[in-house]
Homo-oligomer: 247 residues x 2
């Protein structure tokens, strides 16, 4: 019996697993896009498709996990090879989480469809999703090409997502205070925006893994973090005065 | 030169890594507790300590990752041993996430300290934290004793956390609609409650990893999921009528 394992090299095995990661990444990119579109266009069918497709991403993660365990057992890789294999596990886990977050956005879009137009805010979310999707695309490229500079660049770009999140957060709180009918839709938008902000964090984590694969250590430089929403407080007085600064 | 690696067995190496996981788990248990206490007792100093201690948990995760990579390289474990090592990576990642969520709760508690008493709702959050902490304790025990039944039991208990989250979520939305001054504190509480719900999901993930270590496959049975908050809509009319059913 001809065995693949003997004929193939470790590099080919790793390549095959990393192809699975690229495929998974491509699916997740699409899910981010589609969840944003379902939100802005109030497209219930698209939201349903995003929710259904999440299972495919979960299945790919399982497939990657199994392939990783197999290659560890059969090939016993060392040094950079081992790092590359371990990183794949972590990258796949991050992709799975981003997929979950996109699914959650799609879920909430469905509910938001029942409310009056939440126009401008939804568009800001869509722009945030666009940034995250670009970051993810570049991270996946950096993974394939082992481009540490590109990975580091992705890591630094998350601050833009955080900043958009901060300003949207304050805006939504203000709307809620001005009009109680806006509370439920704005609250879902707050959670959606938080999900996008988390997506950015996960892409950053992927970029850090790539840095680790190439250099052998995680990036030491503190990453600029600027999500301050968990410290944001707006009083109803401020809202009446049209918003203002807090923390 | 006497080498530890040659004298020690794989089992001892694994034991040592799993001890690190137990320590990390113990720290995370404490962080969950303390974040809940800082919330209920409006204890800004305790909240600060929780935020500071998160770094210790992060450091332990790095230590575990390094130890895992070393044991994979030196021991080339197979079958159940390999599963145990891979599971440790995933469990440590989940613990790190739970720690992050506790830190986030502590952050938001600090902001909530500036608002009027949010009494009853904070107590419900504390009870949710208590459930999650019990689940985590049992999951850590199940890990040490390789008790698959206990792990499966933990997995099933997450539904209670979800249910508490659902009812708290509706309650908080109602408060927000009744009084605009409640919007900012209730919104932080909504995010805190969501964090606790996520903690429960991560503990469930840990329980699934333990099932995998012992049996060789992830649990097949669908886990009862009942977090429906992303589909919850409450209109201001309902709020005026003192709450009601939606969804």
């Amino acid at each position: 019996m001809k065995s693949d394992h003997i004929v193939r090299s470790f590099d080919e095995d790793l390549q095959q697993i990393e192809n699975l990661v690229s495929r998974m990444g491509g699916m997740v990119e699409l899910q981010i896009d589609n969840s944003a579109i379902s939100l802005v266009q109030r497209d219930v069918e698209l939201a349903k498709a995003v929710r259904a497709d999440d299972r495919k991403i979960d299945n790919l993660e399982s497939e990657i996990d199994i392939a990783v365990v197999r290659v560890l057992a059969l090939r016993q890789p060392a040094a950079q090879d081992l790092r590359a294999v371990v990183a794949v596990l972590k990258i796949a886990a991050s992709l799975e989480r981003i997929g979950d977050l996109a699914k959650n956005i799609a879920k909430r879009s469905t509910v938001l469809g029942e409310f009056r137009d939440i126009g401008a805010s939804a568009n800001i979310v869509k722009r945030m999703c666009g940034l995250v999707q670009e970051m993810l695309k570049d991270a996946l490229d950096a993974h394939v090409t082992r481009n540490i500079n590109l990975a580091d660049d992705v890591r630094m770009r998350d601050v833009e997502v955080d900043q958009m999140h901060n300003s949207l957060f304050r805006e939504l709180l203000t709307y809620m205070m001005e009009d109680p009918r806006a509370i439920t839709p704005c609250m879902h938008l707050l959670f959606i925006a938080k999900n996008v902000e988390r997506m950015g964090d996960h892409v950053t984590g992927i970029a850090e893994q790539i840095h680790y694969v190439v250099s052998g250590s995680l990036p030491e430089e503190e990453r600029p973090k600027s999500d301050v929403t968990s410290l944001t407080a707006i009083s109803s007085g401020e809202a009446a005065a049209g918003g203002g600064q807090a923390e």
